[in-house]
């Protein structure tokens, strides 16, 4: 096996860092012992606390400076161009192919379904007032009305309707409904009531005709109708 000089250098640097840490720790041992001493200890602790405060301030300043730096980097037009180049480049296509090839979405979805209580999640989403407001907003929206009208008037809706009307399933459903005892009973009742209405109408009309005919004939003969005996 050939020895790479760069690996040797890295190994040496690692060893050197470890050795430095060990020396530093060893150097701190007398300081710790001195901190526990009765006279020198409190002064050393105060000095340590002062150093800690300075260090803390320095750390906060460094963090703020880092945040400013990151913010300026993110807002930089170079980053924007870089992202644009990234999205326009072949890397995204490759990532998409890789995601599809390794079925990442399916695996993630499966894990989510297995680990998350989906019913509870759906209930929570549906019961949430934001969802309710969103649904109300959508239903009240004139855009939805226009969309539905467009769908209804579209060729797609006509095709679907024609396919539905031509399907044997629809015939089966219609036959089932037509032979349903409830439907037959309702039709019979409706027919009977219609016939009864017609007969009742004829009956009342003939009764009126009875009175009219009698009145006319009696008026010709000038004979008023006597009371029944």
């Amino acid at each position: 096996m050939a020895i790479d000089a760069r690996d040797v250098m890295l190994g040496l640097a690692s060893r050197g860092a470890l050795a430095g840490l060990t020396v530093a720790r060893a150097g701190m041992v007398p300081v710790r012992l001195a901190a526990r001493a009765p006279v020198v200890g409190p002064r050393l602790r105060r000095t340590g606390e002062g150093l800690a405060r300075e260090g803390e301030l320095l750390r906060e300043e460094a963090r703020a400076a880092a945040e400013r730096l990151v913010g300026s980097m993110i807002a930089a037009p170079e980053v924007e161009r870089a992202i644009d180049l990234l999205l326009a480049g072949p890397l995204m296509d490759a990532a998409g192919r890789s995601i599809a090839e390794h079925r990442v979405v399916e695996r993630v979805a499966t894990q989510m379904v297995l680990t998350v209580d989906v019913d509870r999640l759906i209930d929570a989403v549906l019961d949430h007032e934001v969802t309710e407001r969103a649904i109300e907003h959508v239903l009240a929206s004139p855009s939805l009305e226009r969309f539905v009208a467009q769908v209804v008037e579209s060729r797609f809706a006509q095709d679907v309707t024609e396919q539905l009307l031509a399907s044997p399933e629809l015939e089966r459903i219609v036959a089932y409904i037509a032979s349903s005892p409830h439907v037959v009973e309702a039709i019979n009742k409706h027919t009977q009531s219609l016939a009864q209405e017609m007969v009742s109408d004829v009956r009342s009309r003939t009764q009126k005709a009875d009175d009219t005919a009698e009145r006319v004939v009696r008026s010709w003969l000038r004979r008023p109708r006597p009371e029944p005996s």
């Binding site: 009956r203 003939t206 005709a209 009875d210 009175d211 005919a213 029944p228």
Partner: protein, 179 residues
């Protein structure tokens, strides 16, 4: 239930009921005659001579007469009368018996033969009776009168109609003088 101004059926109601009954009775006759003709055609050539025509006419009279007598004496209503909610009762409010029904059907024929002139008294009589009603001492009243009290109160024969005779066939009583 609201009753008509007069409890007796007038000329229009009776005409509709009679037309329905005539259609039904003739349908029965024609159906029977058609079946007989079909059977006869299987046997041989069927030509009615005078006697045959007389027999056929007599059969027609018998069937039609039986139709009316049967319904009047059993339910008091023919199908046409049932359709129009009217029924035949005696002048005393009782149901019609077979003898009275026979008299009535003969009277009906007599009323029809002279161009329905036998129905003219329906316009003039206070109880809207025709010739056949006078002959059989019957009236045609609306069948909406369901209880005995209603029948008696409306027909006006309280003192003459014992409760137990309503709904039964009775022998011919002495007809009441018409108003």
């Amino acid at each position: 239930m609201t009753h008509p101004s007069v409890p007796y059926a007038g000329i229009a109601t009776r005409a509709v009921a009679l037309a329905v009954d005539a259609a039904l009775a003739n349908a029965i006759v024609l159906t029977g005659g058609g079946v007989l003709a079909l059977v006869g055609s299987l046997v041989g050539d069927m030509q009615l001579d005078t006697l045959g025509k007389v027999v056929a006419a007599a059969a027609w009279v018998v069937v039609v007469g039986t139709y009316f007598v049967l319904f009047w004496s059993t339910t008091g209503q023919t199908p046409g009368m049932r359709l129009m909610h009217v029924e035949v009762r005696t002048a005393l409010g009782a149901r019609v018996g077979v003898p009275r029904a026979i008299v009535r059907v003969v009277g009906l024929g007599l009323a029809i033969i002279p161009l329905f002139l036998g129905f003219v008294p329906v316009f003039l009589d206070s109880r809207r009776r025709g010739l056949h009603d006078f002959l059989a001492a019957t009236v045609v009243c609306y069948a909406d009168l369901e209880t005995h009290d209603e029948v008696v109160a409306v027909i006006g024969a309280t003192e003459l109609v014992p409760e137990e005779v309503v709904g039964q066939a009775v022998s011919l009583p002495t007809p009441r003088p018409s108003a």
